[in-house]
């Protein structure tokens, strides 16, 4: 794992291949997998490069547990939107309240690609707890942020979220039309169980 900590774009990918082989070999050994997860978290918490942390996040997306949520939550709030996106990649597989909480908390980050990625992810998770903040973002002057928030509200599809989509449609945002279609389909799916 020390090689991964120093990994830079353009370096040999040999260490990544070895890491993947190690993860595969540990598949039926929970203790070994947990050890790898701890080492990957260490990479996230170190001063390793963006490239190294991206690669660590990829692997955490496969084998991570809630043990990695705290470290990923810090990345979600990072000034570097690429790091926040990498964290999204990893945390997207965690369906726990802790993971959702970390994503909601990160909605306070600046209006950038990282924020768009987080809003997208909260929509995918149908995170009703994010509704209030997403409604605020649905009125953002930043078009990608606004549209991602509207789309997420359509997927959340609670009455409050749908009302916010209607309001966005009234303000002339075309994304709201698609969000309302999405909400109608999801509402029906939920009704049918």
């Amino acid at each position: 794992m020390s090689t991964l900590k120093h990994f830079q774009y353009g370096d040999s990918t040999g260490a990544l291949l070895q890491l993947d082989e190690r993860i595969s070999a540990a598949h039926s050994d929970p203790a070994a997998t947990q050890k790898i997860e701890r080492e990957l978290i260490e990479v996230l918490e170190s001063n390793a490069s963006l490239a190294a942390k991206q690669e660590a996040c990829r692997r955490l997306g496969r084998i991570g547990t809630d043990n990695s949520v705290k470290a990923l939550g810090s990345l979600l709030k990072s000034d570097d939107p690429h790091l926040a996106e990498a964290a999204c990649y990893a945390i997207s597989r965690r369906e726990s309240k802790a993971a959702t909480g970390a994503l909601v908390a990160a909605l306070s980050r600046p209006a950038d690609a990282g924020l768009v990625a987080i809003a997208n992810l909260l929509g995918d998770r149908e995170a009703a707890g994010a509704t209030g903040k997403l409604i605020e973002l649905s009125e953002s002057y930043d078009a990608p942020v606004r549209d991602s928030a509207i789309a997420a509200l359509g997927k959340i599809a609670t009455s409050e979220a749908v009302a916010a989509c209607r309001a966005a449609l009234d303000r002339g945002h075309s994304e709201a039309k698609h969000a309302l279609l999405e909400s109608a389909q999801r509402t029906e799916q939920r009704r049918l169980g």
Binding site: G14, R58, R62
Partner: protein, 422 residues
Amino acid sequence: MSFTQNRRQFVTSFPTIVAGAALGLNGAVAASDRITVGAIGIGKRNQNNISKFLKESDVQMVAACDCFADRQQTGKRMIDGHYGNSDCKTYRFHEEVLERKDIDAVLIGTGDRWHALLSMISARAGKDVYCEKPYSMTIGEGRALVNTTKRYGTVWQCGTQRKSNPGYKFIRDVVVNGRVGKLHTITTSFGASGGWRGNAFPKPEAAPNPETFDYDRWLGQAPWRPYSSDGVKHWRLNWDTGAGPIADMGAHYLETAQWAREDEFTGPAEFEGEAVFRNDGGINNIPYDYHVRASYPDGVRILMDPGPKGLRFSGDKGWIHLSDIGGITAQPASVLEGLTPPIAHWQIQTPHIRNFLDCMRSRKLTNSHPEIAQRVHTIIHCANLALRLGRRLKWNPKTERFVGDEAANNMLSRTMRAPWRV
């Protein structure tokens, strides 16, 4: 259908002199009845598609879009050259193509990572779609496309032209009619050519002027990495940007496999195999050599390997084989007794395009409609995951989840780079 009706109304109400040819008075398809198409992605593959679409008399190609400026011009030259005018517009951003109300359909032939995403964006914009394969990067992305095309009533065709090729229908019929007996094995060989076994060692470079090459657009949903000309050139060799060799040819052969089983809406339930990956530190992280075995619940097996491109159905009475350049052979000879195999070369593409255009008018499902393509690509992605994870995977085609393997389930979809989303 609305696009025809609207244009007819326009023509009949427009009080001016219109050339007879434009109205179809010389036997040509009237302009009001032509399907207008924009091409997104003007690389070699889509140039081939464009050349075929241009030959259809009821098609009018009107737009060429690409993140490479020189390719935009290539598309324009092809289209304008065919029509003898300068009407084709060029675009860097697909949004501008999709905003055009006069465009009925888009022809998507980009890098793999854009296929499903652009299909969904196009569906939302009210366009029908002919989309190159492999059409998805993950099983989850593919399912999202199926849902989106249903929601918007999109006519969508996967560019697996072999599905409409008489030769493929011929071998499918031979199998369905029991000439090889009880089917037990389908062997699909995807070829080792096409540069799949090469490698590159990308180094970060200064990104080009986006007016010349828009790297951010090129990257699309793929995880961000700094620009490298080698990374762009060899995009097929890396999972971030390409779906790998099994996806490239499997989209064709596995579709025929499912078709011949007369069960296109489910799939195998177990996947296992072995792969060798390059270990020389380059960008290539796809299988160098591989052998996959996929098993249906009824015991029929699909074998996948990098042998010379072709497809073989083996039963308890014999086998029939189709090579990608069109030869059909069988053993024993009785399998083909009384039959004349048609030409089956892979370049026979027009019937598939024709099927798409006809379905645009009838609003019927295409030969390679989204659900069929999704089930085919699910086999592909399951095979890839079994190789990447290095273990046997059990798949539930109903729930579309792996059984007892959460790490594998974690790879059913992947987060898209912002601002892209499904």
